[in-house]
C-alpha cells in the first residue's frame, strides 16, 4: 500500500464513517473497510478508476471536487480523507473548510513543493520540477495549486484549523532509512516530499 495511505490509516478510527475525496480505484477505502470495519463513500472523476472501485464492492460516487461538498450535511462523517488531490482543485482553501464542515477531522496528504529536489530544479536549473511526488511536466500537470508545508500550515492558522498530527515523509526508497527519517524530523519542509496532516476545527483534546 502507498505510504501516505498507510500513514493516513493510523488516524482513522475503526468502525468510523469516512468520505474519501479523489479516492482513485478505492485502494484506501477497501483497506479501511476490510481491516478496520470502516464504512463510507469515495468521490472520484476518473471513469476507469470508478468502474474498478465499483467492481471491488465499494460505494463510489462520480463527482468533481471542484463542485464542493454541498450535497453532504454538516458532520455527516467522522473523517474526510483526501490523498494528493488538494493541490489539484480550484479552491483548496474553500474545499478544506468544507471538508471540516462535513466531518470532525480531515486527513490530507499533498506533495511538498519546497522539497530540496524541487528547490534545486527551480533554483539552480531554472526548470519546473518533475519528481516522484510531482510526476508531471508544467504543461500537463493537474496540480494547479502547489504549496509547501509552511504554506499549508499558514492557511490552517488563518482559518483556525488545528493541526492534530503531522507526518512528513519521503516517498522515495532512500527516504526509508533511519538517518533520513531523523533528518526529515529536523527539516521537514526541505527534506520531505509528501506530508500527511490530520486537522480539525475543534481543539485537540
Amino acid at each position: 500500500m502507498r505510504m501516505d495511505h498507510q500513514l493516513a490509516e493510523r488516524w482513522i478510527a475503526p468502525y468510523s464513517h469516512v468520505l474519501d475525496l479523489g479516492c482513485g480505484n478505492g485502494e484506501l477505502l477497501a483497506h479501511l473497510q476490510q481491516n478496520r470495519g470502516v464504512t463510507g463513500y469515495g468521490l472520484e472523476i476518473d471513469e476507469d478508476k470508478i468502474n474498478e472501485a465499483i467492481a471491488n464492492g465499494l460505494s463510489i460516487v462520480e463527482q468533481d471536487l471542484n463542485d464542493g461538498l454541498a450535497r453532504f450535511a454538516d458532520n455527516s462523517f467522522d473523517t474526510v480523507v483526501m490523498a494528493r488531490a488538494l493541490q489539484a482543485v480550484k479552491s483548496p482553501d474553500v474545499l478544506l473548510l468544507d471538508m471540516l464542515r462535513v466531518a470532525r477531522e480531515a486527513v490530507i496528504t499533498f506533495p511538498n513543493f519546497a522539497h530540496w529536489q524541487n528547490r534545486i530544479h527551480l533554483g539552480l536549473k531554472g526548470i519546473m520540477p518533475v519528481s516522484e511526488a510531482l510526476p508531471y511536466e508544467w504543461y500537463n500537470t493537474p496540480n494547479i495549486h502547489l504549496c509547501t508545508f509552511k504554506d499549508f500550515e499558514k492557511l490552517c492558522a488563518q482559518h483556525d484549523i488545528h493541526i492534530i498530527n503531522r507526518f512528513a515523509v519521503s516517498d522515495s526508497e532512500k527516504g526509508h532509512s533511519s538517518l533520513m527519517t531523523a533528518l526529515i524530523r529536523r527539516a521537514p519542509n526541505l527534506l520531505a516530499d509528501v506530508a500527511i496532516y490530520r486537522v480539525s476545527k475543534q481543539k485537540p483534546e
Binding site: 468510523s16 464504512t39 464492492g57 460505494s59 460516487v61
Partner: protein
Amino acid sequence: MNSVGVVKPQTLHFAEPLTLECNRTLPSFELIIETYGTLNSDKSNAVLICHALSGSHHAAGFHSDNDKKAGWWDNMIGPNKSIDTNRFFVVCVNNIGSCFGSTGPTSINPESSKAQVYGPDFPLVTIKDWVKTQAMLSDRLEIDVWHAVVGGSMGGMQALQWAADYPSRLKRCVVIASTPKLSAQNIAFNEVARQSILSDPDFKNGRYLQAGTYPRRGLILARMVGHITYLTDDAMKAKFGRDLKSGKFMYGYDVEFQVESYLRYQGERFSENFDANTYLLMTKALDYFDPTRDYPLTQSAQPIDSLVPEELLASSLVESVKADSSEDELAKTLADSADIDNISASNHQELTALKAAFAHTECQYLIVSFTTDWRFAPERSQEIVDALMATGKPVSYINVDAPHGHDSFLFDIPRYMGAVKGFLNAPFMTDNQSKNSQQKLGARS
C-alpha cells in the same frame, strides 16, 4: 456467439384476486415472462429485469431462427455480457396493463357479459402494483431473494419501489436513467401524449376494438412527442440536420425535412404494435410514481389520500385522464404554488421525503445517469444518490457521457456496461455499511 439464442416466452396464471392501489380488484391475472440462464441450486443467482414504457418481457435473444430483431436489452443480457447469463438466471416480466401478453386492456374482461376486452375498463395500475405482481412471480419461481433487480427509465422506478417495498428480497438495485418521481415538465409531456390519443376521433372512448377502429393518428402523435424527448438536439442534428427529402422547399405540409420523415416512421411503427389504452395507462403509472407517498413525513405531511382524490383513482381509465381543472381550481393552484424563489426549500423537503422512503432499505445500489438525458436528467438521479448517502446506504453513482439522450440506456456504451457488470459481480458489502453509518447519523441528529 454471445446471444442467449432462441427463447420462448412462458405465461403464468395467477388465480388469486389482485387488489390494486386504486382499490379495484382483478379477479385473476396472467404474467408473460422470459428467462435466460439457469437458476442455481440455492436460487441465489436470479436477476429481475424491469421494462420501460414501451418494453416487454422480450429482453434478450430471438423468438425464432429467422427473427432479425433481438430483445430490447440484448446488448446488456447474454453470455459474458454485463448481465452474464453464464452466471445469472435472468427473468424479464411483462407488466400487467401492457399489450404484450400480460393481462391488460386488450385481454378479455372476465366480468363482461359477451367476453369483451377490458379496453378502457382496465383499472389504472401503478409502479407499486407492478412490483407487487413481480413479488408474486418471485414466490411462484421460489426465488426468495433476487441477486439484483435492474431497470432503466420506468424500469428503474420499479427497481426503486422493490427496494422500498420488499427490502429483504433483493441484494442489489440497479437504477438507470430514472428519477425519484416525475417533474411537472415530465407530466406535461405525458399529458400532451395522452391528449393526442384521447382527441383522436377513432379512439371511441377507448372502445376502438369493439368499434372496429383504431386511434392510429393519436398514437403516432403521442409517440412523436415522446420520441423527441428521448433524443437530444445534438443527436437529431447529427442524424438529420436540416436535410430535405427532395432537396428543395415544397411550400406545403407534406414531409419535407428528414427529421419529419423519421418521426412519422417511428410513430407509425409504434402504432402498429402498441395499444392506445396501454399507452394511456402506462404514462399515468409514470405520473403517479412516488415512493415517498408510503412514508409521509410527520411534519407538514399531507394525508396520503389527499394527494390523489379517491374518485380519480377509482374511476375508469378514460374518465381519469380527462382534463378536469376548472378555472377556479387552476387559479387557486397557481396562487397556492410555491414561488420559484423557494425552489431550494422545496428541494430540501424532497430530500427529506426521499430519505424517509429509503431509510429502511437493505440493498446495495448502483445509480446510472447519462449526461445528455433531459427527460430524466442526471440531477434527478443525483437526488436519489443524495438521499441514499444521507441515510448511509451503500450506493455507487456514475454519470455516463453519451450523446443519445434518455435513450442512452439502450445503447452499448462500454463504461456503462462495465459498471453494471462490475457491480453485479462485486463482493457484497457487509451490512455494517448501513448499520454502522445509521448509528452515526442517528447519534448526531
